[in-house]
Symmetry: C2
Subunit: 415 residues, 2 copies
């Protein structure tokens, strides 16, 4: 490949100096529009910011946790191949980390590149790696297995497909361009080589940057603004809630310093039932207005809900089983998580209902102080429960970010 080792972004950035600027909307470009008569070197012109946006691979934490959610996402779990152990896993994570770093910087892969992402900038690509419970047995690393990876409890409403649950290794890919995301997925799959095989894979999406001027860019497929009351990186207790501490007496092994635990649930939305509800009933289920995400007790999206406020009928304005009431940290002994989902839609089932919902991805320092207690409560009777169905589940230990020269998981695999 001609451009091995050369940053697509850098190339394009340089050529941008020729001054040929194209609008972000690309309205004049693409299929069924006439190609420009400019020479091909002129054409590799300035890159608009969607493509040029780059997320750092190295750092204290892995990318893809606090990164603004991208418009395209792939979740994929791998199982180590028979015969592959710690050594092969270490080599794989080394290869994967090198490739993730290259691709996130807008470069091609080190070997033969498929060219699928060629011409495009990194487009906010992130790649995030995690280890599942079964990984530690297969690699003889049981002693390093965090107790936080103990299997999630069964929930009474679970309808889990085992074939699409769990896995030795988990990779999350997000990008604001679907070809950049597919390119990364395919590159990482091929690098798995003989060491690991795809166990399950899911595709998701969120609103495209620029489609709305609303700062909370996305809604879910029930139509709600979703993500409002997430913990914010600017908050004092954010790190403590989301990341495993670097030092001190935690029950986590030291290789998890700066890491986080991710719970992944494929949650089907029963849209036929949901859409039969009137607007008022839909809003009662959540406890927030659909239009702007404001609490039913008034204000704007960021106003604190008045949980004690009663209506003229003497009932709470925000019902006792409203989703946005019972999931709150202050209703769960402080349990909090950072939700960072993608929507999914995989066609229609035989009854004509879309196979669609949320690839629910949530991050926490400890699943027992995040997802588990909250889901236990939702399972007992959240107003939303009758409109959703959990169809797949995974729990993974996501180590801290790799320092320069290091690969993700090195502190585990070379301890």
């Amino acid at each position: 490949m001609a451009d091995n080792g050369i940053s697509r972004r850098r190339l394009l950035g340089t050529a941008g100096a020729t001054g040929l600027a194209l609008g972000a909307a690309g309205g004049a470009a693409g299929y069924a529009a006439a190609p420009s008569e400019a020479s091909s070197s002129d054409r590799a012109a300035s890159l608009t910011s969607l493509g040029a946006d780059e997320v750092m691979f190295h750092g204290k934490h892995q990318p893809g946790i606090t990164t603004p959610v991208q418009s395209r996402g792939h979740l994929v779990a791998f199982d180590l191949a028979a015969g592959a152990g710690r050594k092969e896993a270490a080599a794989l994570l080394r290869r994967w980390s090198a490739t993730a770093e290259r691709l996130m910087a807008g470069k091609s892969v080190a070997g033969e590149d498929t060219d699928v992402a060629r011409d495009a900038g990194p487009s906010s690509l992130t790649v995030t790696f995690g280890f599942g419970h079964s990984f530690f047995g297969r690699t003889g690393l049981e002693k390093q297995r965090p107790s936080a990876l103990d299997p999630l409890p069964d929930f009474s409403s679970d309808h889990l497909d085992k074939a699409r649950s769990d896995g030795d290794l988990w990779v999350q890919i997000g990008a604001n361009d679907p070809l950049v995301a597919f390119h990364a997925l395919r590159a990482l799959q091929k690098e798995a080589g003989d060491a690991a095989r795809v166990r399950w894979q899911m595709n998701g999406f969120n609103r495209s940057p620029g489609a709305t001027s609303h700062p909370m860019t996305t809604r879910n497929l029930m139509g709600q603004i979703d993500g409002t009351n997430n913990p914010k990186p600017s908050e004092d207790d954010f790190d403590q809630r989301i990341y495993v501490p670097a030092t001190g007496a935690t029950r986590d092994p030291s290789w998890m310093a700066g890491g986080s635990y991710v719970v992944v649930r494929r949650i089907r939305m029963l849209l036929d039932d949901w859409e039969k509800l009137g607007l008022g009933d839909q809003e009662a289920v959540i406890g927030r207005h659909k239009s702007d995400g404001s609490p039913l007790t008034g204000g704007t999206e960021t106003t604190e809900p008045k949980l004690e406020k009663a209506g003229k009928d003497g009932k709470y304005v925000i019902a006792l089983n409203a989703h946005a009431r019972i999931t709150r940290p202050d209703q769960n002994g402080g349990s909090a998580m950072l939700r960072r989902p993608f929507s999914y839609h995989d066609g229609f089932d035989k009854g004509g209902e879309p196979d669609a919902g949320l690839l629910f991805v949530c991050w926490q320092a400890d699943p027992l102080r995040g997802f588990v207690p909250v889901q236990r409560k939702l399972d007992r009777g959240d107003a939303l429960s009758e409109f959703i169905r959990h169809e797949a589940s995974g729990l993974f230990a996501v180590p801290g970010g790799a320092a320069k020269g290091e690969y993700v998981g090195q502190r585990l695999l070379e301890a």
Copy 2:
């Protein structure tokens, strides 16, 4: 719904006067980023151009044919329900046209809206309607059936899944935002009501506007720049090649004036085999360079290939079975088509190969002077054939665009 009948775009446009401008990349927005403290009315601020871009519903031709290809696409076929005939079909096309017009203008649906597209602009949404061969029998309109809808011939390399082929009605949805596209798909599906049911549905994608500054915005999943030598609307013979003439002695029924015939093929790419080829062999298969789409005989993407040029070995530089040689109009008695595909990727099959390829969508005034002769030739021995597999097929008559006050297909259904 509070905003029934109010254009989201207009709302946002007005509020934009408050001057709060947000970058097209939306880098600061979204999940896992702090929501702004601005009030919700301030937040509905200026809309960046990706969201604001609007395609006209009314016109001589339907939208979604020469519209630059969008980053998200849905193809869906419906069958009329048992008992539904011409009357029900006419009512359905009337409902669908009204909704397509509203949504393409950035408005909500006339009834209860799901809110999934709320806050977003129309994002270049297009909705295109077509009629399949079976539609005419079911509605007693056999006499109006164009002979151009006669079933496509069998091709020796076909591996067609009947359940994902054909259909009474076909709808193509494209938008630069996945939630806007899903919203439209769901709205149209619900409006089918008791009259029609989803027969098959496919999801596709292309490069996001702004991810590249290359004017041909997209590559396919084999990594090639694809779409280069498409007929251009600026060319003299474009209309004649792509659209059914408005008047004169054609074999088409008069209701097809201004219409076009679309051939839809789900073409699986055998990526494991393809990616084993070296770059030179891949380029020989097409006859163009992968990097910039230029012909193997030199120049830039838009340079005419020198079909007669031979190399030092005495062989043609562009091989006799090169895809971009044998598909050319001048090698097919003038047969031409406008290709406007989406890529697809629906996970991995059991062998670990991505179920991915091209939702090949091509437009022509007459399938017998477009797709059929070219595909017949490809079927006999195009260098690309061993790397692809046609898995589903459809052929639909897409009538001309609706005039104001008219619905798509009215000239057929109320003749």
